[in-house]
């Protein structure tokens, strides 16, 4: 699923590893989400939205 997580990481100056640890998944999982090869669970999507202080639909675009 298309997402703007890389842009949000750039804004907060976080690496994939930083974000992965913050939401308690592996760096490979963050990488797979950013490359649109893996769609996160609802729980992880909420954790990501909470981390970036936004709504899930602001971060993910299901139409793409």
């Amino acid at each position: 699923m298309r997402n703007d997580i890389p842009d949000r990481r750039d804004e907060t100056d976080e690496s994939q590893a930083d974000l992965a640890a913050a939401v308690e998944v592996t760096r490979q999982t963050i990488n797979a989400i950013e490359r649109e090869r893996y769609d996160p669970s609802l729980e992880l999507a909420f954790a990501l939205a909470d981390h970036f202080d936004c709504r899930i639909e602001d971060m993910f675009d299901p139409d793409e």
Binding site: D18, A20, A21, A22, E24, V25, T26, S41
Partner: protein
């Protein structure tokens, strides 16, 4: 950066460390089994192998961090599904095919064929039972 970042650097290395310990214990158990067979101490080798496997399970169960995340679970489920699909074709097509060839006199099936067939049958019985169990719970 934020407090997230502090735990960020610690947690992956902790996960890796516990994964290494878990797989290391299993690897040591397998090595012990091989050595036990080589030096004709088979029972001791099997005991050490079981201890390694048990140790791996205990580390996975009681490690302070989750060793596998949701993507690992998804990958395992997809791999399991593919494996079951492959063996379903082998079982559904191979078993009657083999028996038909035997009946036609073209081949004489070895005992291993029947052993493999019953093993696959058992696997699918377990799959069906667990499928039913999770269907009722989900």
């Amino acid at each position: 950066m934020s407090e997230h970042t502090t735990s960020a650097t610690a947690r992956p290395s902790t996960r890796k460390r516990y994964k290494r310990i878990a797989y290391g214990l299993l690897g040591a158990g397998i090595l012990a089994l091989w050595i036990g067979i080589a030096v004709d101490r088979f029972v001791l080798g099997v005991a050490l192998y079981w201890a390694g496997g048990l140790g791996m399970g205990l580390v996975q169960r009681f490690s302070p961090v989750e060793l596998y995340d949701e993507r690992d679970g998804t990958i395992s489920r997809k791999a399991s599904q593919t494996t079951m699909n492959v063996f379903a074709y082998v079982f559904v097509l191979g078993t009657p095919g083999g028996l038909a060839l035997q009946e036609s006199g073209l081949v004489t099936l070895p005992g291993e064929f029947y052993g493999a067939t019953w093993t696959l049958f058992g696997v699918f019985v377990v799959f069906g039972a667990s499928h039913l169990y999770y269907k009722r719970r989900t």
